[in-house]
Every structure is written in structure tokens, then in C-alpha cells.
């Protein structure tokens, strides 16, 4: 399955690459062609423009030249009118020209470069000639006679001198001597076209291999080439080509037929050319400017060839380059694939190792709910062997009633992170057991599977249930205890209440009746009897005190704490005020230092101060001036309140007895008291999470220290 896919993919890839390559080639070809064509067009356009320009230029030049020649002739015409000798020469018997004439005509000849200057009469006889008076060709005479018909100065066409074969054109300057109307004769100015005309024609303004301009004239149904052609010699006034046959091919033929613009043709030597033509105004001449087609194309050809070569080379190079790249990529992919294959293999092994020895059941199910993989534990737990398991659906492992919601849970496993739930599974033997399932959907090669990790939670469930029942039991126990405690507290309250009432009444009676006895039967009583009665009363009173003390201890020990932020200084002061009777008639110094505030029950804290201050006052009674101080010190990062007196003090050896209930370190005779004050103070301080202790020296006073802790008994 794997391999096939890979080969298919590879083939597809190759085909794709090949297609790409071919596409590249095609694109390059198209581009090349387009380039070539473009270049061609451009060259053609350039050539056209050039030809047109050159043709215009040349035609204008030639026309200008002709005009100038005629203009020169007109000057001569104008001048010769005023030279009577000319007339004489023409009309008179042949005579020798005067020097003046010769000078003038000679100057003319020299100045203008005429090959000959002739004076002929109207019959065509030469009267004067500065150049070689060569026999005058009949052709020339005809031309002259023709020209003399009008008084206009004319320029003959090019003609060949029959004897020398040289080509000439002649300016015919007809001479008319008014008042005569007829032409007396003419001055002929012979021009050698090669000095200017032909050179003008034959020159090409730019460097060109094949381009040329040429002059032609129509002669009947033929074209006569007038100048020496570039590519063929001996053509001037000799080469004649038929028009009719060459029309559409020979540029000259089309030219004389009046074709306009720039066109392609085949010239006199059979080469394809691009040509244009102009009629030389005021003349029978046509100017043809042409250039060989392959001269136009040559550079394109060259360039295109070069480009083609480059393209070909690059394409050829690209081929192997791409091939190389592809190969490199493929081998890289191969390597990567091999590596990932190895990794995957390792993973698979690791996974199978894990799943085999895992403590939980690991199952893999496919989309049809069928089990496709199971680990060893699964066999153990369900009692099926592996083969049997792989034939089952996961549904078969469920205890039937737990199948409700199966589909919903299956779907839920597709969520990221999967799903965790509890259900009941069934073994081969039909026994059921509770399980916790962690399921999630995973993808292997694009196919979805569900992986479930199943844990037998029989133990866990049992433990959980046990915990719950224990908790419940605990709850109940706590409730019972609380109730008991509450009952107990209520009992104590009732007890205290009772005590406070019921115990006192008899005491009152004891005391009262013994007093009555003493009062009403005093005479009958001996001193001793009276003493005994006194003792009875005293004890009754003592008992009353003890009861009061016990009640106070109970109250202070059990009444609810109402804590708030308090200022101990204020409470101490209040307690001090209330001890006014104790202070009566005594010299007492009271120094109260800074007491930082704390969190305490104000009434109880006041009681502590009352007890400590009361004691301080009591035990300093024997001093002349009792000095009592209260303050606060910092000891070990906590605030310690203290009450100091300069009274009797006590022996530190018995310090631990100080705070015991009904414990006293002095006799009643020395200092009265029930021995409960400090016990109460301790109880209160303890309820506030603090400590109380004392330091003293016999007969040098005592200091009682206490702290109010942070952890106060809860309200």
C-alpha cells in the first residue's frame, strides 16, 4: 500500500517536471520568435525611414542642383544680352572671338567647372567653343535645337558624347536679342555629371554595404539607368530594362510607374531589396533609393542567431540543471523518508513495548467500532485471547445497560484532548467491572482510529465509596460531638446559674442565723461560744467568696469572646478608676506608658487589668507611697504589656504556683484574697492566644507580663 503510493507519486512528479520543462521550452521558443519578429519589424521600419529620408534628401539636392545650373544659365543669359559681340558672333560671318569674350566665357567655364562652353547659332552650328571643339553629336545638336525653341534656359538630359563616350548634360542658354523674338542662338554650358551629380547620387550618407541611390529615366517602354551603379559597372546611360516585364519586381520599373512609398522588390542584379523612389521635380528623372533586404536583416540575423544560441545553450543547460536539482531533492527526500521511517519504526517498537507491558488496557478501534489492536493487559482483563479480541467490536465489551450514550461518547472522542468517562465493561465469563476510559481519535496515514486506555477502577470505586461513607460517618460524628458540646455548655451554664443561686442561699442562712444567735442570746453565750459562732460566720463568708470566684472563673473562661480593636490604655484606666475604693486614703503614684492597640475582648481585657492592678494595689499597701506602672515592651518581636508595683513581691521559687486556682503565696492574714484573680487573668490571656508570667523579688515589688497573641480563640 505504501510503496505503490510512493511510485505513483514519483511518476506524477516526473511527468510534472517534464511538462514544466517542455512548457519552458515552448515559452522560450515563443519569446524568441517574438523577439526575432520584433527586431525584424524594427529594422524594416528603420530602413524605411532611412530610405525615405535619403530619397527625399537626394531628390531635393538634385532638384536644387538642377535649379542652380539653370539659374547660372539665366545669369549668363542676362549678361550675354548686353554683350553685342555675342550677337555679332552669332549672326555675323564667322569671326574670331575677342579676348573679352574669351575671358568672360573662360571665366565662366573655370568658375563653374564646365567642361565646355559653346556658342551655337540657331541652326546648330558651333560659332565658338572653349573646350575641345569636338564634333558635336547630332544628338546634342538636336537637344540644343529643341531647347532653343523657347527662350527659357534649360537643362538637357544626360547624354553620351558619341566620340569620347563621356556623359554630359548641357545647360542651354537661349539668346534672344530684342527686339527680335526668335532665338539667335544659344550658349551651351557642358557639365560633367561626375563632378557633382553622380558623386551626389552615388554617395550614401551612412555606412552601408549594399544601399544605393540611382537615377533612371523612361525611354519608351524601357528604363534607362543614368548613373554608374554601385553593384554593376558600365551601366550609366547604357543599362536598359523593360518596364512592363519588371513591374512589380524592379524598383526602378515601379518607380517610373509612379509607385509611392517604400516597397520590396528585386533589383537589377536579382537581389531582394527594399526601395523607394522620388520623381526629381522639373526633370524626367526618377531617383530610386534602395537597400538590400539581407543588409537589413543581416544584423537581425546575427543577433537572433546569437540569442538563439544562448537560449539553446541555456535550455540545454537548464535541462540537466533541473534534472540535477530534482535528483538532489529526491535523494534528500529519500534520506528524510528513511530517517522518518527509522524514527517511526522506533516509535512503533516503543509503543508496542509500552502497550504490552502497560498496566492499563490499551485498545485501538477503527471507524466501524471494531477492535484492531489490543495489548496484553486487555487479554488478561477481559479473558479473551488476542485473536478473539480482534474479532470483537468495542460494543461487545460493554455491559449492555452501559451502552446508552455510546455513540455520543464515540463522537466526543474526536474533540482535541479526547474524552474521559466511566462506564461498565463485561468480561468473557459475563462478570462486569467498572472502568474509566480515556479515549481519543488519532490519525494513522489519513485513516481515523480511536485509541482507548481503559482502567479497571473496581478498587478505586470501592475506595471512593468507603471514603464517602467514612466522610458521612465523620459528619455525623462531628454533628453528634457538636451537639454534645453544646449540651455540655448548656449544662455548664445551668450549673453555674444554679450554683450562683442555690449555694448562696444556705450560706446566707448559716451566716444570718449564727448572727441572730449571737445577737439575741448574747448573755447566754460564753466567749468561746461567741468565738465559735464567729468562726462559723467567717467560713460562710469565705465560702461565699469561693463561690463568687469560681463563678467568675467559669464566666470568664466560657463567655463568648467579642474581639475588636481595643486601646488597652483606656481599659487600664477604666479598671484603675474602678479601684477607687482601694486607693482611698493612700498615696498612690500611677504611671501609664504607651500601650499599643490590639485585638481583644474589651470587657475581658479590662478584667485582666483590673485583677493585675488590684493585686498591685493590694500588695503595695504597706508602702508609704505605692508606685504602680503599666507599659509595653517589645520582646522577641512581640508586644508585651506589663504591670509593675513596688509592693511585697514574691519568692520566684514559687512562681509557677502564682496562676493556680485558689493558690496563694501569702496567707489570708497578710493579704486577703481568694487566689482566683491571677487564674482568671491567665484564663483570659490564654483565650486570646497570649501568655502571662511574672518576675519579682521578695519585698522589692513584682512585674506581671502578658501578651495578646495573634491567634485568638475563634468566636
Amino acid at each position: 500500500m505504501h510503496g505503490q503510493r510512493k511510485t505513483g507519486e514519483r511518476m506524477k512528479l516526473t511527468a510534472a517536471l517534464l511538462a514544466l520543462y517542455l512548457l519552458l521550452l515552448a515559452a522560450l521558443g515563443a519569446a524568441g520568435y517574438h523577439f526575432y519578429h520584433g527586431q525584424q519589424q524594427r529594422a524594416l521600419d528603420e530602413a524605411r525611414t532611412q530610405l525615405t529620408a535619403i530619397a527625399d534628401l537626394k531628390a531635393a539636392e538634385i532638384a536644387g542642383w538642377r535649379r542652380e545650373r539653370i539659374a547660372d544659365g539665366e545669369v549668363v543669359q542676362a549678361n550675354s544680352g548686353s554683350v553685342p559681340e555675342i550677337r555679332r558672333l552669332l549672326e555675323g560671318p564667322p569671326a574670331a572671338p575677342s579676348a573679352a569674350i574669351l575671358d568672360w566665357l573662360g571665366a565662366l567655364k573655370r568658375f563653374h567647372g564646365y567642361t565646355n562652353v559653346m556658342l551655337i547659332d540657331n541652326r546648330g552650328a558651333v560659332r565658338l567653343a572653349l573646350g575641345p571643339a569636338a564634333p558635336f553629336s547630332s544628338h546634342c545638336a538636336t537637344l540644343a535645337k529643341e531647347a532653343m525653341r523657347s527662350p527659357q534656359v534649360t537643362l538637357t538630359d544626360l547624354h553620351r558624347e558619341s566620340q569620347s563616350g563621356a556623359i554630359h548634360l548641357t545647360v542651354v542658354v537661349p539668346l534672344v536679342f530684342p527686339p527680335h523674338k526668335i532665338t539667335a542662338g544659344a550658349i551651351l554650358l557642358w557639365i560633367d555629371p561626375s563632378t557633382f551629380l553622380f558623386s551626389r547620387i552615388q554617395s550614401w550618407p551612412t555606412l552601408s554595404r549594399t544601399a544605393e541611390t540611382l537615377l533612371v529615366r523612361r525611354e519608351g517602354d524601357q528604363i534607362l539607368y543614368l548613373n554608374e551603379l554601385r553593384h554593376r559597372k558600365g551601366t550609366a546611360l547604357r543599362l536598359k530594362l523593360p518596364i512592363e516585364q519588371n513591374r512589380g519586381q524592379l524598383p526602378a520599373a515601379d518607380a517610373v510607374s509612379g509607385r509611392q512609398g517604400v516597397w520590396s522588390g528585386v533589383d537589377y542584379r536579382g537581389s531582394p531589396v527594399l526601395a523607394t523612389a522620388r520623381r526629381v521635380p522639373d526633370s524626367p528623372w526618377w531617383l530610386v533609393a534602395k537597400v538590400d533586404a539581407d543588409e537589413i536583416e543581416a544584423p537581425i540575423q546575427q543577433r537572433s542567431e546569437l540569442v538563439a544560441i544562448i537560449l539553446l545553450l541555456s535550455v540545454l543547460a537548464a535541462g540537466p540543471a533541473i534534472g540535477l536539482l530534482w535528483y538532489a531533492q529526491r535523494s534528500h527526500l529519500e534520506t528524510v523518508r528513511r530517517e522518518s521511517e527509522v524514527a517511526r519504526q522506533a516509535l512503533v517498537e516503543h509503543f508496542s513495548y509500552l502497550s504490552r507491558y502497560a498496566n492499563d488496557i490499551i485498545l485501538l478501534e477503527d471507524e466501524t467500532r471494531r477492535i484492531v489492536e489490543a495489548n496484553d493487559r486487555a487479554e488478561q482483563s477481559y479473558g479473551y485471547d488476542r485473536g478473539e479480541l480482534l474479532a470483537l467490536s468495542i460494543r461487545d465489551l460493554h455491559e449492555p445497560s452501559s451502552l446508552a450514550g455510546f455513540e455520543a461518547r464515540w463522537e466526543a472522542a474526536k474533540k482535541p484532548g479526547g474524552i474521559l468517562f466511566e462506564t461498565t465493561h463485561r468480561r468473557r465469563d459475563g462478570s462486569v467491572f467498572p472502568v474509566e476510559v480515556s479515549a481519543r481519535v488519532i490519525e494513522v496515514d489519513g485513516v481515523g482510529f480511536r485509541q482507548s486506555i481503559i482502567r479497571d477502577i473496581t478498587e478505586r470505586k470501592r475506595a471512593r465509596e468507603e471514603i464517602e461513607s467514612l466522610n458521612q460517618e465523620l459528619e455525623q460524628r462531628v454533628q453528634r460531638r457538636t451537639a454534645e458540646l453544646e449540651a455540655s455548655n448548656k449544662e455548664l451554664e445551668a450549673f453555674t446559674y444554679s450554683v450562683s443561686h442555690d449555694l448562696r442561699a444556705p450560706l446566707r442562712a448559716i451566716h444570718g442565723f449564727s448572727r441572730l444567735l449571737e445577737e439575741e442570746h448574747a448573755p447566754q453565750l460564753s466567749l468561746k461560744a461567741r468565738h465559735y459562732l464567729e468562726m462559723v460566720r467567717r467560713n460562710a463568708l469565705q465560702m461565699g467568696n469561693l463561690i463568687d470566684s469560681l463563678l467568675a472563673l467559669s464566666r470568664f473562661g466560657h463567655q463568648p469572646l467579642r474581639t475588636q480593636t481595643v486601646a488597652p490604655a483606656a481599659l487600664a484606666r477604666q479598671a484603675w478608676e474602678e479601684l477607687g475604693t482601694e486607693r482611698e486614703g493612700r498615696r498612690v503614684e500611677f504611671v501609664a506608658g504607651e500601650l499599643p492597640s490590639c485585638t481583644a475582648d474589651p470587657a475581658l481585657l479590662k478584667q485582666v487589668f483590673a485583677n493585675l492592678l488590684g493585686n498591685a494595689l493590694k500588695y503595695s499597701r504597706r508602702r508609704q507611697t505605692a508606685r504602680i506602672e503599666i507599659g509595653c515592651s517589645t520582646m522577641a518581636n512581640s508586644c508585651v504589656y506589663w504591670v509593675r508595683d513596688n509592693g511585697a513581691g514574691f519568692d520566684m521559687r514559687y512562681a509557677d504556683k502564682l496562676f493556680g486556682v485558689f493558690q496563694r503565696l501569702h496567707s489570708q492574714a497578710e493579704y486577703e484574697g481568694s487566689g482566683i484573680g491571677l487564674a482568671i487573668a491567665q484564663r483570659i490571656v490564654q483565650r486570646h492566644g497570649g501568655r502571662i508570667w511574672a518576675e519579682a523579688k521578695l519585698d522589692e515589688g513584682a512585674t506581671f507580663y502578658f501578651t495578646i497573641g495573634d491567634t485568638v480563640e475563634p468566636e
Partner: protein, 147 residues
Amino acid sequence: MSLPPVEILLVEDNPSDEELTIHALRSNHLANNIEVVRDGAEALDYIFHTGAFADRTVGDRPKVILLDVKLPKVDGLEVLRRIKSDHRTRSIPVVVLTSSHEERDVVDSYSLGVNSYIVKPVDFSQFAEVVRQLGLYWLLLNQPPLD
């Protein structure tokens, strides 16, 4: 027979306390007209002319009621409440005499409208003094309401 108007109603269950209280009153010449009832129910019957005292004249009102808190049958505070909630008897001064310092009793008594709350000291001389002062105050000093 027409009895002289009772000046003091003593509600006390303890015989010793009763004896001592009367002794103290007598020694101060305040004991001429004392009626003693020994439980709460009897107290109510007396005050409201019900039960055993149904034939008492309505106009008969003690000048002061000395009421102990802990009583059999009907509790002292309940008696106090009854006295003070009935418009006929509301104005009779009630002095609660008790051994109890208990805060709760004090608060309850006053909230029920007691006129005075006295704690019976164990010491008899003090007790006698208390009684004398009570007697003097309520019988001689205090102006009873006019009926």
C-alpha cells in the same frame, strides 16, 4: 375580716431567707404588714386575686413586692412579667431580691420593668442593712401611686 392593707408582699421560697428577711424588717420596724407567699403561682394568685386569694379586695395593693428570682412553680421573672404587663398591677413597685449576679437575670428583670434589683449578700449584717434601706426607701420615702 378586714385586714390592714398589706404593705409588703414577700415572695420567697427559702424559709431561712424568709426568716432572716422578716427579722431584718422587724428590727427596723418595717414589718407590720407583710404577706409572704412561697412560690410563683401563689404570688400570682395573691396579686391577681385568683385561686386561694380570690376573695381579696381588689383595692388591696402592697406598697412594694419583694420578689425572689428562683421560685418553684412559676419563675420569678415570669411573675414579674405578669405583674408589669397588667395595667392593674403595673404600677406596683417590684424589687427583685436574688443571690444571682448573673447578667442575664439583671437584663431580663430590667427589660421586664423591674423597679429595682438587689443582690442578697451572704453576710447577714450587710443583708440586714440592705433590707433596712429597702424598707426605708420603698415604704417611707417613695411615694406610691395613688389609686
